[in-house]
């Protein structure tokens, strides 16, 4: 029996055993070109001219975008592609923030179209038209991954400093897919700061096919990369709406200062006066025409150079179907006295914590699958990220995972290794749910 590497070498050698037919490939190409030319002449003459003319008239009358598109599409049969998107096209025509870019990129026989975008200085929304000939089985899904942007004014690559998310594309779905790119604010952990979206840039993205229900590392089936060059219209300045709404919770003031409205999203900025003697953190929802959307977890309070404690919440705009009314709902909060920020020492051998934290007890330290597991029992409910871990020199230790149980038990898992000094801080106070949420009406925005 041959060894693996002998089989491998044979396989490689076999690939260099070029058949005679390989050297006739260009002859076969010429034959095929002649055949295809004959076929096209026959096809073009068979389009029912009455039906095509009728469709042409309807679309020209109802769509400004279609009228602009006609200049770019020479073949009458292409009209049918636009008809599919009538609903969103109609809305897009009415949305003054849409930029019609009409770009296409190819990878082999796949053609990915980017008909339009919405953009501002901090955000980019791509409306992609998935290739017609994508092959997908029922247990497969495509997602769009943004690889990088390259600022064409200075050739700088932008590969981080932004969040991106896309929906997933499965068999039978509408081929128009939306991808959002948001540039991060300052001070976010592990994200570099970018100045925002350039006006002229190259965008590299990939269509990644996965097997559904598997680990992303194991389930990746294919990657097809595409590049677009965009030259956008100058970005509109955001509109600032002063709110000046003050809320008081347990004696702590929160000032809802203003809403900054971009075409793609709005930012609600609120401040916590220095005079507050506790750090209060809010869990918010967005109410739009009676429907409620959670605005994620407790956002981090950022302390700015001017001493102000400020928090910014982002709300994505519904550019195709703006609501008639909007409110922010304060549903719950955490509170923690400002003078309680000291470090607590962990003794791994004795499994103790000193000094003790009022209302939080270190119950156990155990080892599990290469991880150290810390079990804390509390007397009240806390949200996630109750505890942060540090080395003696102040270096942050990654928490691999955390869990909580309904009996106020909180578990934290960090890498199991030798720690000379291990310290923790209590990052957040207990959580209280408001019996009656506090509602703050906000403008609908751009």
């Amino acid at each position: 029996m041959k060894k693996s590497h002998e089989n491998w070498n044979d396989y490689l050698t076999e690939s260099t055993d070029y058949p005679e037919e390989l050297y006739q490939a260009t002859d076969r190409l010429e034959l095929r070109i002649r055949k295809e030319k004959r076929k096209k002449r026959l096809l073009f003459s068979s389009i029912p001219t009455t039906a095509a003319a009728l469709l042409f008239v309807i679309l020209m009358n109802t769509s400004v975008v279609f009228a602009r598109t006609m200049a770019d599409i020479p073949i009458l049969s292409k009209i049918s592609e636009l008809v599919m998107y009538n609903e969103s096209l109609k809305s897009a025509v009415e949305n003054r923030n849409i930029q019609y870019v009409n770009l296409k990129a190819e990878n082999g026989d796949l053609e990915l179209k980017l008909p339009y975008v919405i953009a501002d200085s901090k955000n980019l929304v791509l409306f992609l038209e998935m290739p017609e000939n994508l092959e997908l089985s029922g247990d497969e899904v495509y997602v769009v991954n943004i690889d990088y942007l390259r600022d064409l004014s200075n050739d700088n690559f932008i590969s981080d400093g932004f969040f991106s998310n896309s929906g997933s594309y499965i068999t039978g779905q509408n081929p128009l897919m939306q991808v959002n790119i948001e540039f991060v604010e300052e001070d976010l952990h592990r994200y570099s700061i970018q100045e925002g979206l350039p006006q002229n840039f190259e965008l590299s993205l990939s269509l990644q096919k996965y097997k559904r229900g598997t680990d992303p590392e194991e389930g990746l089936l294919s990657v097809d990369a595409f590049k677009f060059e965009l030259s956008l219209d100058p970005f509109k300045e955001p509109v600032i709406y002063p709110l000046n709404e003050e809320v008081v919770i347990e004696g702590q003031k929160i000032l809802f200062k203003e809403m900054v409205s971009y075409p793609v999203r709005s930012e609600i900025i609120f401040e916590y006066p220095e005079a507050n003697d506790s750090d209060i953190n809010l869990r918010l929802s967005l109410l739009e025409d009676g429907g409620m959307t959670s605005l994620s977890g407790y956002a981090q309070i950022q302390r700015h150079h001017d001493g102000a404690a400020r928090q910014t919440i982002h709300i994505r705009s519904d550019y195709f179907n703006p609501p008639k009314s909007k409110s922010i709902s304060i549903d719950s909060y955490t509170i923690k006295p400002k003078n309680e920020n000291s470090l607590y020492q962990i003794d791994l051998e004795k499994k103790t914590m000193s000094p003790e934290i009022d209302g939080i007890k270190l119950a156990d330290i155990s080892h599990e699958d290469g991880l150290l597991v810390f079990t804390f029992n509390a007397t009240e409910q806390y949200p996630y990220s109750l505890i942060s871990f540090f080395l003696g020199d102040g270096q942050f230790i990654d928490i691999v995972k955390e869990a909580r149980r309904s009996d106020y038990t909180y578990l934290y898992y960090i890498e199991d290794k030798e720690y000379e000094t291990l310290e923790i801080i209590q990052s957040i106070g207990p959580e209280y749910i408001l019996e009656e949420p506090i509602l703050i009406p906000i403008p609908v925005g751009n």
């Binding site: 693996s4 076999e14 026989d109 990746l220 097809d224 219209d233």
Partner: protein
Amino acid sequence: MGYFNRKGIEKDAYIRLIEQYRETMYRIAYGYLGSEGEALEAIDEAIYLGYAKRKTVKEPDFAKTWLTRILINECYRMLRKRGHLSFYEIPPDVVDEREEPISLSTKLALQSLPEDLRQVIILRYFADMTIRETAEFLGIPDGTVSSRARKALSILRIELMEEEGEKIYEKKS
């Protein structure tokens, strides 16, 4: 308003490109498909698709890279169409007759590799690309190319000396 930069390749230049590059294309297709007939089919289709889209090539200097991508996508299409073949389903006429037939498990093992690993192996060992060239083609760092190659070879249970430019096989002239 966005724009699409059109440079393109003239027909004569495209034909010359095919004549220079066809042997590399064959090795790549053979690496993916493991069969002379299918490799030729993939090449014919890729050459035709490339011809049809030759005027859309943005950077003619990178035409080989562009054509390689077309070819690889065509190989994927054929593999998907073929479906998953078990050892017992492969008809005898697909196997090349030699005194000691190449183990089908090597071919199937390569076809069963995760795509990101298989790409690196095909480009490095069948297309004879350097680490740098492979990294540029795939848009990944050089180190990632090396680590994926090592991982793939260990899955295939092959131990090779991974030195730049050195290959442990002989080419037939």
